[in-house]
Symmetry: C2
Subunit: 357 residues, 2 copies
Amino acid sequence: MVNLLPDPIEAEGWVCPAPLRDSPTIVMGHGGGGALSAELVEHLFLPAFGAAAAGAGLGDAAVVPVGGVRLAVSTDSYVVRPLFFPGGSIGELAVNGTVNDLAMAGARPLVLSTAFILAEGTALTELARVAEAMGRAAAAAGVRLVTGDTKVVDAGSGDGVFVNTTGLGVVDDGVDIRPEHARPDDVVIVSGDIGVHGVAVLSCREGLEFGTAVRSDTAPLHGLVAAMLATGADVHTLRDPTRGGVAATLNEIARAAGVGIEVTERALPIPAEVRDACGLLGLDPLYVANEGKLVAFVAPEHADRVLAAMRAHEHGRGAAVVGRCVAEHPGMVVARTGLGGTRVIDMPLGEQLPRIC
Amino acid sequence: MVNLLPDPIEAEGWVCPAPLRDSPTIVMGHGGGGALSAELVEHLFLPAFGAAAAGAGLGDAAVVPVGGVRLAVSTDSYVVRPLFFPGGSIGELAVNGTVNDLAMAGARPLVLSTAFILAEGTALTELARVAEAMGRAAAAAGVRLVTGDTKVVDAGSGDGVFVNTTGLGVVDDGVDIRPEHARPDDVVIVSGDIGVHGVAVLSCREGLEFGTAVRSDTAPLHGLVAAMLATGADVHTLRDPTRGGVAATLNEIARAAGVGIEVTERALPIPAEVRDACGLLGLDPLYVANEGKLVAFVAPEHADRVLAAMRAHEHGRGAAVVGRCVAEHPGMVVARTGLGGTRVIDMPLGEQLPRIC
């Protein structure tokens, strides 16, 4: 995307540049975790970062060797709207979301940094409530909040409370879990009901209240992952299907690993309330964000063992086998419908529900 | 600040809470790095985080033992306006600022995470220019950009480009540099001209253009720190005087260490252009942000050695002794004026120039 760049602005006499009004611009979908997000990373960020980002990939966490240990690093900003919704708030998301990105790399989460961008005029009580939620979630997940930063932007330039958390964890010896490790015949397991978080936030979003009993599933998943790994099974790939939902996650893994994925639609655990709300709103639950679920790719001979360990854990009680990897149609995700047909599950372009996390 | 909290909103029937209109609110100064920022951390964040933040302090970096090494972690969000200014951009600040926070803990910076919050409608060319600046700055500083995140908020909810970077570095054995280590008789050294960054940004800010030749001093300082430490001198405390300027930095250290600080006004390296611009705008250069300078507190018997090492380094050529620590008036910073009098250098409440980094 170097051709996008105008002439260097740092020439002899420095001139404050005018905004570029005639350029292609950022759209909501660039933040949706789908194809547009991936394009932004591959075609803008990585080329622009150049050598400094050599080896950086599209994964949710990087693994960096430091002093004899493999350190997992993951960063996420949270811009969910509204700040509080049934079952949680931006505070729980900011802790659990980053804890989960570490857990999906097989890491034990240790510490988080927290950085706030606050709009002038934000109520201190609202901020305190967010911070208390973070403190509770961190204590529950067993991670420490070790350092932080606060910036304030003028009202109109920011939107209440944006939270960034960056997490550090340690990947134990022998653990090597990544998207590209999925392989044909792997069994695909989902840890429980899908679509819950997105519907819970939507139920509370201004102008879209439709009175639902659905609560966000936000939860830390590293304990569940530890229970799965303790079985000694070959867990090849883990991913939490947040933005873009299960559909985006499966497509990412199919592409990264060069495998095809077949999903059995009837096997997908979708609660009736989520199905109803999605029907009403014209959404597909496969594309709706989750904040307390994971998708696992496991060697077929170990699937039963892993499934049993998951069902014995509080965050995996609803675990179900939903599909398998195939050697056919690499990079493509296909669903077997209830009627015996098949349909392609596309990579979403952006996110059906912007600002869901 | 628990008394600020309203009743828990998570009761039997969940009700989406209305905004709290009658509460004290966030003001620009809460992000200024002065007394209001410290108050927010001490009276809101730390109590709200509770046990999860036990041991966390007000330092710019935390040091965490992991696998036999002491890992420094620092996070900062950058919201500077405008994005581009004489001598740099938000991209250089986002890299150098976090590198410097690590360096001020005596750490060797290794990797950064990068997280963007973008407003819908931001020009891709502008974003690419920011990312290229980050790539160049990271390469120059010898740090790798290992993982990232992008969120997009609707136009009107965000303001172009906000960047968070979180940095990791390693603190070598025997190095233990912190604000509370300053002690009476320590010599206070500044690494060069002060007030430059703030004036450069201001010169470019909408409505305040006054044609100046001042360019931001943004620079990575870990090489300078390494040169200082290589002398074997007792360097007790280091700090980069960003938001709130040298005045805020000296006050923080005086309080943290329980020492008094005496500054000789005439010894402060303030370029004529900065002095003129500050005069015009009614600003005090001592309170104006720097992005490529450090303040060092050094044992008196080692001060000459450290000063010589600093002056031999490209980022310390203008290094000067500007004062010393005293046992009197602990927690207070006093300047000896050119006329032989003294004046108190107060902790700034907020920041004279909001959104300077």
